[in-house]
Each structure stands twice: as structure tokens, then as C-alpha cells.
């Protein structure tokens, strides 16, 4: 592919009215069920997930089935709408297995061309929100590693699997193909780890003598897993955008109100410029994230590049916004009661998820023919 391929048709980088309606619904739900004190109380309890929240989001709003065609039980929408949901989830750092189940696992099943068969059945269950499925690979796996991740058998240990704790089904890539393995079945152990990002649980998955349903042979499975990871990386950019936006908004609000030296600290030019710089990064992140979502939605050949660019940019923008948020809040930003730390932890973990910015820059290098020296 050459750099110019996509020049012909410009991507749609704006939000449609339907997308804004969806955003309002999701935002209202999250404001109601996942405000900061609730999220902080949740992560300190034994059940980090508010099942009612997931039910309302997945079933009530129908967000779980956005990517799934109506005939398979979904909403027949696209990655563009799913991206809007993720922006809102990033903005509230609410714990919900949306990215892992409703995007990555769902995309993999869709890519298998699910006309009937076990994949179609599972897809319907994910779309309706009655089941949660996650890909049994480390959360850090970039799309480029999809092929390599297919090595191994159903006897294996995988570390740092995101949301495995809440999953009903694991999608396990092996050299033979992709298996669906029930987490409740024999020979499956899901051992929770202590995550940096308390709002997205990680676990070690150990399979010993587990059985599963073969969903696809190795060839198509590898391609499907690659597509799942690509969608995950691409839409993660929208989560990062939402997160960064919250951090900026909240920092602006705080520094306008917080007085020191007989004036609002936000009136100091050194702080103003930093927040203005963050604004520029948020605006840029939005363009990059929208481009990735649109490319995924339209099945554009530019999608791999759009996703790599979005990840290479948005990871850093989110971490930067969260770090500035802590700093510009002063001592309050270092406390547990203030939600800033939840955003910092999510942003930092997100910067590793589905490949670091560095890995995505390498992907860019390969895609646009700018090889390393």
C-alpha cells in the first residue's frame, strides 16, 4: 500500500446525530450509575463490576450489539457508534467489559463469517449482552502479533488477560485454530492479578485438560484474531480520547476555582499554556480516533494505518492529560478520594494495551515504507 491510497475518499471525522443521541444515552447512564465515588467504592469492594450497569449498557441501550448485524441479533451499527460508547466509558473510567467483549471478541467472531454454526450462536449471545467473551491473549498484544499468538495448544497459561474474571467464554487461539472455552468448564482456572488500573481487571488464565468448541481453523482464525486486535487497538483510541477530555475539562474547572496568591491558579500563564496545549492534543486525538473508527467501519484498506496512527498518538495524549491533571490539581491530585488517580492508572495501562505507542510507530514505519536504519 502506498501513502496516497486513501486520498480519493476523505473519511468522515464528524459525529452524526444518531451518534450524539447514543452518546447522550450512555453518558446519562454512566452519570447515574458510575460517578467517581461509585467507581472508587466499587474497586474497593469484592465485586468491581456493577452487573446492573453492564446490563443497562449492554441490554438497555443495546451497546453490546452495535457491531453485530441485526439478523444475528445485534444493532447493525458500526465501529463509529462503538467508538462513541468507548469515549464515554473513557470519560467515566467505568468498569465494563465493553472493549474486550463487545469489540474485540465480537469482531473476531464477525470476521469468522458467522453464518450459522457455533460462532454465530456465541455472537448472538454477546450481542444481547447475555454473555461476555474475551480473547485469551495478554492485554498488551498488538495486532501485528496476531499470527505469532496462534502458537500453542489448549494446554497453556496466559498472563494479563483483560476482563477474564468476568468472562463466560474465552476465545483461545491455538496452532489448530480458535477455540471457545467456557470459563466455568473443567480444566479452566482464572486467577485474578492485582492490576495497576483498578477499573479493568487482569487475570492469569491456566488451561489444563480444558475442552472447547473449535470455531475456526488456524488460517482463518489467525486473520480473525488480527482483525479483532485491530478493532480493539483502533477503538481504544476513542477510550483514550474520552479519558483525556475528562482530564482536561476537570483540570480547567479546578484551576479556575482554586485560588492561591489571591487569584485563580488557572490565571497563571504557565498553567494556561499547558492546558491550551492539552486542548490541542485532545482535538488532534479526536481526529485520529475518529479516523480509525471510520476506517474500521467502512472496511477501508487504510484501516491498519489509521489504527496505528491513532494508537501511536492517542496513548501519549491520554497519559499526558492524566499526568497534567494530577499535577495541576496539586496535593489533591495525589489523594485516593479524588478520581484523578483512576484516570492516570487507566491511561497508563491503556498505553500498553494492544501494543505500546512505540509498537504502533513501528507498524506505521512498515505501512508507509519508512524503514528503520
Amino acid at each position: 500500500m502506498t501513502v496516497q491510497t486513501e486520498a480519493a475518499q476523505a473519511p468522515d471525522l464528524l459525529y452524526s446525530e444518531a451518534e450524539e443521541d447514543l452518546r447522550s444515552a450512555v453518558r446519562a447512564l454512566l452519570a447515574d450509575r458510575a460517578d467517581a465515588p461509585t467507581v472508587i467504592a466499587g474497586i474497593e469492594s469484592d465485586t468491581p463490576y456493577d452487573l446492573r450497569l453492564w446490563e443497562s449498557l449492554a441490554v438497555g441501550i443495546g451497546a453490546a450489539g452495535l457491531l453485530v448485524p441485526e439478523k444475528l441479533g445485534g444493532q447493525g451499527a458500526t465501529h463509529r457508534e462503538a467508538a462513541v460508547v468507548l469515549e464515554e466509558l473513557g470519560r467515566s473510567v467505568a468498569p465494563a467489559p465493553y472493549l474486550t467483549s463487545a469489540v474485540v471478541a465480537t469482531e473476531i467472531l464477525l470476521a469468522l463469517g458467522a453464518d450459522g454454526g457455533p460462532a454465530a450462536g456465541l455472537l448472538g449471545e454477546l450481542a444481547s449482552g447475555s454473555k461476555v467473551a474475551v480473547l485469551a491473549l495478554p492485554f498488551s498484544t498488538p495486532p501485528a502479533d496476531a499470527g505469532a499468538a496462534m502458537a500453542g495448544t489448549l494446554e497453556r497459561t496466559v498472563s494479563a488477560v483483560a476482563e477474564a474474571v468476568t468472562a463466560d467464554v474465552l476465545l483461545v487461539p491455538t496452532a489448530d485454530g480458535l477455540y471457545a472455552v467456557e470459563t466455568a468448564g473443567d480444566g479452566v482456572a482464572v486467577q485474578p492479578l492485582v492490576p495497576l488500573d483498578l477499573t479493568r481487571p487482569l487475570a492469569t488464565v491456566t488451561l489444563t485438560g480444558a475442552t472447547g468448541t473449535l470455531l475456526a481453523d488456524a488460517g482463518p482464525a489467525a486473520e480473525a484474531v488480527g482483525r479483532g486486535l485491530l478493532a480493539g487497538a483502533g477503538l481504544l483510541a476513542s477510550e483514550q480520547l474520552g479519558l483525556a477530555e475528562w482530564c482536561l475539562t476537570e483540570t480547567v474547572r479546578h484551576t479556575r476555582e482554586r485560588h492561591q496568591f489571591n487569584r485563580p491558579v488557572g490565571s497563571f500563564q504557565s498553567l494556561k499554556h499547558r492546558m491550551a496545549q492539552l486542548w490541542l492534543e485532545v482535538v488532534s486525538a479526536r481526529a485520529a480516533a475518529r479516523n480509525a473508527a471510520d476506517a474500521l467501519a467502512t472496511g477501508s484498506p487504510d484501516a491498519p494505518l489509521a489504527v496505528a496512527v491513532a494508537q501511536a498518538y492517542c496513548s501519549g495524549a491520554a497519559v499526558h492529560a492524566a499526568e497534567e491533571c494530577v499535577q495541576l490539581h496539586g496535593g489533591i491530585g495525589m489523594t485516593w478520594e479524588h478520581p484523578a488517580h483512576l484516570y492516570l492508572k487507566r491511561a497508563k495501562a491503556d498505553s500498553i494495551a494492544y501494543g505500546t505507542a512505540g509498537r504502533h510507530r513501528e507498524a506505521v514505519a512498515a505501512l508507509v515504507d519508512l524503514p528503520a536504519p
Binding site: L196, F268, S270, M334
Partner: protein, 396 residues
């Protein structure tokens, strides 16, 4: 400053101490007390107060000898505020009695200190503080709330600033006290922080009686005294002497060498950039110390804490990313009240989160940059509307 004592003399005294109190058979506390009494605690302090009136540059001679002999050291992480901030302030402004009473147990670590400066409404603008101290006979009666007080839960004593005159501009109505943390009316409540631990606290002061004999410096002149504390705080946070790869960069460098599977070109470039910056920061600190010894203190001191904060944050951020899957994990979120202030222990995630405080505690990086711009570079100061107004008339 005496020039009688030289390196050889100091070495001899150190050997005498080691012979009199062999570390192998002497208890830790006994050894530290004997060391203080021999004047080898901080050799530049006066005789009788743990020092020998010797040049500061001779301290490393003592430290090296003692380390080689396996002698116990006082843990600077546990007694950092006492050692780094209370001690120089007491030395500079304390009465003879105060110096005799406080410096020895402070240095040996028998008594831990904390700093009751910041308040909910007075952080960067510390001089705006509202905790009141009202004279009542031989005592002062103190009421107010302090916040972010590191180690208050283990501290025996506190350095405290309070407002003794609300009718004059804010910098002029402050006095400086030594507060007994075991006195009635002192209440310490844990404040959990980003790392999960409650390293700092909220401290409520209600009718706390402090005898006038525990005031440091003249009434109303506490801001000047506090400047000594704050300057020393910055130096003690940013100014530790470390060997090459001695700070956080050492941990990342070790991981890099031992785990080749984690390496990428991108991380390599960033690691090298930070390695060079860490080495240059170390050299800048070393040069500053040499300037001090040569009697030409430079303004670089203000820069060291800035560099330390930024480097710690960038290096620990890189470390989390380098570790990949492991970087997404955290050791332990248990809410604890640690006895020591720990910047670097534990895992990469902890280091990353704790380092965020480095640019806030002891003066934010923004405020320090203002100080460099205005006092070092002599750039015009920001227009101010809080200088000549009585404290009680300021907006809050």
C-alpha cells in the same frame, strides 16, 4: 569555621569511634549516640551538637569509613524531615536550649519529625495560611487544620507555622513553633494517596498549647524562618549524592540488561536519552557540592529538585511501559500507614505513581520554575495583588 581538622584528623577520629564501639558488638542506638557525641554525625555542626565545626566536605570521609566498617546508619527515609529540614532550622534560629534538647534524638532517629505547613487553603501560597496561634500567658493556643502532613502518624515533634497577627500582610504575621505531637488537641487522621498507602495525613489542631519557649525566631518573623526550612527541603529532596546509575535509572538499566526480550528500538532511544539526563543531573549535583565546598554556592540548587522530579517521573513511566504485561500489574493496594517515606522501593507501578508527588511535595515544579525565573534570572515578577493587603482582607 575551623581549619584545624583535616581529612586525616577526621579519619583518625572515626577510627577511634569504631575502636571504642565496634559495630559488630554495639547496639544500633548506642552506636548512633556515640557517633553523635564524637561530633561525627554532621561534622560541619558545632562541637557539642553532633559536629566538629569542620568543613562540610569532610562528611563523606566519615561516611565512607563507617560504611566500610559496617556501622549502622540512621535511615534518612525515616527521619528525612527532621534531618533535612528541622535540624538546619533549629540550628539557624533555635536557642541554645532548643538545640541541646532536639538535635541529638532527631539525628539518632529516636524522635521523628513532621512538617505542619500546608493547609487546605494554603499550598503553593503557603504564606496565606490560616491556622491561628493566640498568646495566652506563657503559652500560645493553636487552632487550625493542616493537610498532606507526611509521617505525622509516627512523628514525635512537628515544625509548625501559624498566624499570630491577621492584621498585617500575610508574610509578616506568621510565627514558627515546635509542636509536640503528643499534646492534647493534636489529632492525626490518615489521608490515603494514589499509591494506596496513607503516607500523609490531615492534622487537626484544637486548642493546642505550645509554650513560648518552643517558638523558633521572633514573633511575626516566622516566614523568614520558614524560608530556611523550605530551602533545605528542596535541597534534601533533590540533592542526595548518588553514584552513577544510583537513582531510578539504575533499576531500568538493570531490567534492560537482564531482559533482552523486552527491548525495542523505540524504548532503547528513550532509555538512552534518560540515561544521559540522569547522568548529567548527577554531575550537576556533584558540581554544586564542589561549588559549596569552594565557598561559591550557585543557584543550581533550585534546579536540582526540578530535575529530580522530572527524571523520576519520566524514568518510572518508561519502566512501566518497558515491562509490558508486568507493567500493567501492581504489587499491593492495601491501605497501610508506612513508617518511612519510600520513593523507590516496591514495584514499577508504585514508583510511577509515587513519583507524581515529586513535582508537588516540597513546592510544585511550577512554583520552583517561578523562583528560578524571578530570583535566578531576575525576570520581572508577576503583578501581585496580595503583598500589601492585611491577611484578613485577602480573598479566600
Amino acid at each position: 569555621m575551623s581549619t584545624v581538622i583535616d581529612a586525616a584528623g577526621i579519619r583518625r577520629l572515626t577510627q577511634e569511634l569504631l575502636a571504642a564501639r565496634p559495630p559488630a558488638t554495639t547496639g544500633r542506638a548506642d552506636f548512633l549516640k556515640a557517633r553523635f557525641d564524637a561530633g561525627l554525625a554532621w561534622v560541619h555542626y558545632p562541637v557539642g551538637l553532633g559536629g566538629l565545626d569542620a568543613p562540610r566536605s569532610l562528611q563523606p570521609v566519615v561516611d565512607a569509613e563507617l560504611a566500610a566498617a559496617g556501622a549502622p546508619d540512621n535511615d534518612p527515609r525515616r527521619i528525612g524531615i527532621g534531618l533535612g529540614m528541622a535540624a538546619p532550622t533549629i540550628l539557624g534560629y533555635g536557642t541554645e536550649e532548643q538545640k541541646q534538647r532536639f538535635l541529638r534524638p532527631l539525628w539518632t532517629g529516636d524522635e521523628v519529625w513532621c512538617q505542619l505547613f500546608s493547609e487546605p487553603g494554603a499550598g503553593s501560597d503557603l504564606a496565606a495560611l490560616g491556622t491561628r496561634a493566640v498568646r495566652d500567658g506563657e503559652d500560645w493556643v493553636v487552632d487550625g487544620q493542616k493537610v498532606w502532613t507526611s509521617s505525622a502518624h509516627v512523628a514525635r515533634w512537628a515544625i509548625l507555622i501559624a498566624r499570630t497577627d491577621p492584621d498585617v500582610p500575610k508574610h509578616r504575621g506568621i510565627s514558627y513553633f515546635i509542636c509536640d505531637m503528643t499534646d492534647p488537641g493534636v489529632e492525626v487522621r490518615p489521608l490515603r494517596q494514589i499509591t494506596g498507602e496513607a503516607e500523609f495525613n490531615e492534622v487537626f489542631l484544637t486548642g493546642v498549647r505550645i509554650p513560648d519557649s518552643r517558638r523558633l525566631g521572633p514573633v511575626g518573623d516566622g516566614w523568614k524562618v520558614a524560608q530556611t526550612t523550605l530551602m533545605n527541603e528542596r535541597v534534601s529532596i533533590g540533592g542526595a549524592r548518588i553514584p552513577r546509575e544510583g537513582g531510578m535509572i539504575g533499576t531500568v538499566a538493570k531490567t534492560w540488561r537482564e531482559q533482552p526480550e523486552l527491548r525495542t528500538h523505540d524504548l532503547h532511544q528513550r532509555l538512552l536519552t534518560l540515561w544521559v539526563e540522569a547522568e548529567v543531573a548527577r554531575l550537576t549535583g556533584e558540581r554544586l557540592r564542589q561549588q559549596l565546598v569552594a565557598g561559591q554556592p550557585g543557584p543550581e540548587g533550585s534546579g536540582m529538585k526540578l530535575a529530580f522530579a522530572r527524571l523520576n517521573q519520566e524514568i518510572s513511566g518508561l519502566e512501566v511501559e518497558l515491562l509490558g504485561d508486568e507493567g500493567m500489574l501492581y504489587g499491593d493496594w492495601t491501605m497501610r500507614r508506612p513508617e518511612i517515606v519510600d520513593f523507590t522501593g516496591r514495584d514499577a507501578g508504585y514508583r510511577y505513581l509515587r513519583s507524581k508527588g515529586n513535582s508537588i511535595e516540597g513546592g510544585t515544579s511550577e512554583v520552583l520554575l517561578n523562583i528560578v525565573a524571578e530570583r535566578v534570572l531576575r525576570l520581572p515578577v508577576e503583578p501581585r495583588n496580595d503583598k500589601d493587603v492585611a491577611w484578613k482582607d485577602l480573598a479566600r
